[in-house]
Symmetry: C2
Subunit: 263 residues, 2 copies
């Protein structure tokens, strides 16, 4: 594998996230990518968690060149969603189409069904739709000062593998990493998305004028006992890698639907 | 098929959309559903197009009982996204889990890759995750005064078929309907999602203070010539029905990834 990429052929890497451009997770991802290539950051100017694949249709977008730290990367903050950031990066900001798009490191899990709510993963999906090999990285630790260091060597490995092997158009990788502990990570496991759900609960409150309002809360329930799932891998201290398809057709269901009598 | 459902066994139907509770598309869908069952509407109080699977994590949610027309349905407007509406409906508003969740009728196409940006379809996906047979309906006509009448009998047929046959947990239907014309619709076609893309362009402008801003615009490009796709069906005046899976694993890619050497 091309561990040492010479200056002249350094790949162009786009870095995005959904926690906002100043989040420690993206700062760590930028520092790892600086070891591999020439880095452009185009990331939201404010937290965009749970934005899914939202795009900004009814409002304007702005992007500003910023300097957050002393690294060699070029950075832009953006007023939009994570998907807006990728679209703006590719069409307005970057000198050419990047060789790799990485999103994260998300503060918190994007395994299983979380993939469809996640702004981090939607940025990676959007990258794959632009024809860019793309990866979303998430750490199972919501803390702002989470330990991203133990994950760094694996993130670098996976990024180098994707640069070498490429990915088909419209397919990206969803990488989740267990919370760091004294036990070292066991390695990387290729997985399918576990069938799991959020059982939400709404926390009902009254505002100072007596009107009801709600906070969305919930509990994650994994009802998939397969040992080939991302949830199993993560519970067993593996880093999970799920290939994600932007073709959401339930192909196995096509035959069944053709037996229905629509009349 | 149970065309005539008696009062006592009338199904409970949740209606949602992303264009907002007063949009003509949802008003038509409500009137069709009133012929089938007991209808609850929980829909956004403002347009939410392009919101994808966004949920409201960093803000409060409100929902208010409203009366928009003289129909028998019960209606609530909601401050959140289409997915928030479905979650609030199931957990707070409805007397029990509904037998059917329908979303739309969207003003504009949600065929092909539009499915992942669409708030209308994300509401249906969320319904399917709640274990409710769910359908998103969209008309290929952005006009506010579009002709939804020709589509109505097909919408009723599809809804009755789903009530009769149910759908597996986590799978919903994406129904798109050609713009009404003098030629009657040819019928219903079960399809896969066409591989297509948006080639976006950003319209760059200066605000009155001289600062740059952008509007997201773009062109839809279908590069999939299959006659089994939704794009083909719609171009040939068929109503397209694509089963949509909330498991986004690219299963065919798992084997390939297991040949990669992550080191």
């Amino acid at each position: 594998m091309a561990e040492n990429i010479s200056k002249s052929e350094r790949p162009l890497i786009l870095v995005c996230n959904d926690d906002g451009i100043t989040a420690p997770g993206i700062r760590k991802l930028i520092s790892v990518m600086n070891e591999i290539g020439e880095v452009y950051v185009v990331a939201p100017d404010s937290p965009q968690s749970g934005m899914g694949h939202a795009i900004t249709l009814n409002n304007t977008l702005r992007t500003d060149k910023v300097t957050i730290d002393q690294g060699p990367q070029t950075e832009f903050s953006c007023s939009g969603t994570p998907v807006d950031c990728v679209k703006l990066a590719v069409n307005v900001v970057l000198p050419r189409k990047p060789d790799l798009c990485v999103s994260g490191i998300n503060h918190g899990s994007n395994s299983s069904i979380n993939v469809i709510y996640s702004g981090t993963m939607s940025a990676a999906v959007e990258g794959s739709l632009e024809g860019i090999p793309s990866i979303g990285f998430s750490l199972l630790d919501y803390a702002w000062d989470a330990n991203f260091n133990d994950a760094a060597p694996f993130i670098k490995q996976i990024a180098l593998s994707v640069l070498e092997n490429k990915l088909p158009h419209g397919i990206c990788l969803n990488v989740n990493i267990p919370k760091a502990s004294e036990e070292p990570y066991k390695g990387i496991k290729i997985c399918r998305q576990a069938r799991a759900n959020w059982e939400e609960e709404f926390d009902a409150r009254k505002d100072p004028r007596g009107r009801q309002y709600y906070w969305l809360t919930g509990t994650f329930v994994n009802y998939d006992h397969g040992q080939d799932t991302d949830e199993w891998a993560l519970a067993n201290n593996y880093i999970s890698v799920v290939p994600v398809d932007s073709d959401v057709t339930a192909h196995a269901m096509l035959q069944t639907l053709n037996t229905w009598n629509f009349e």
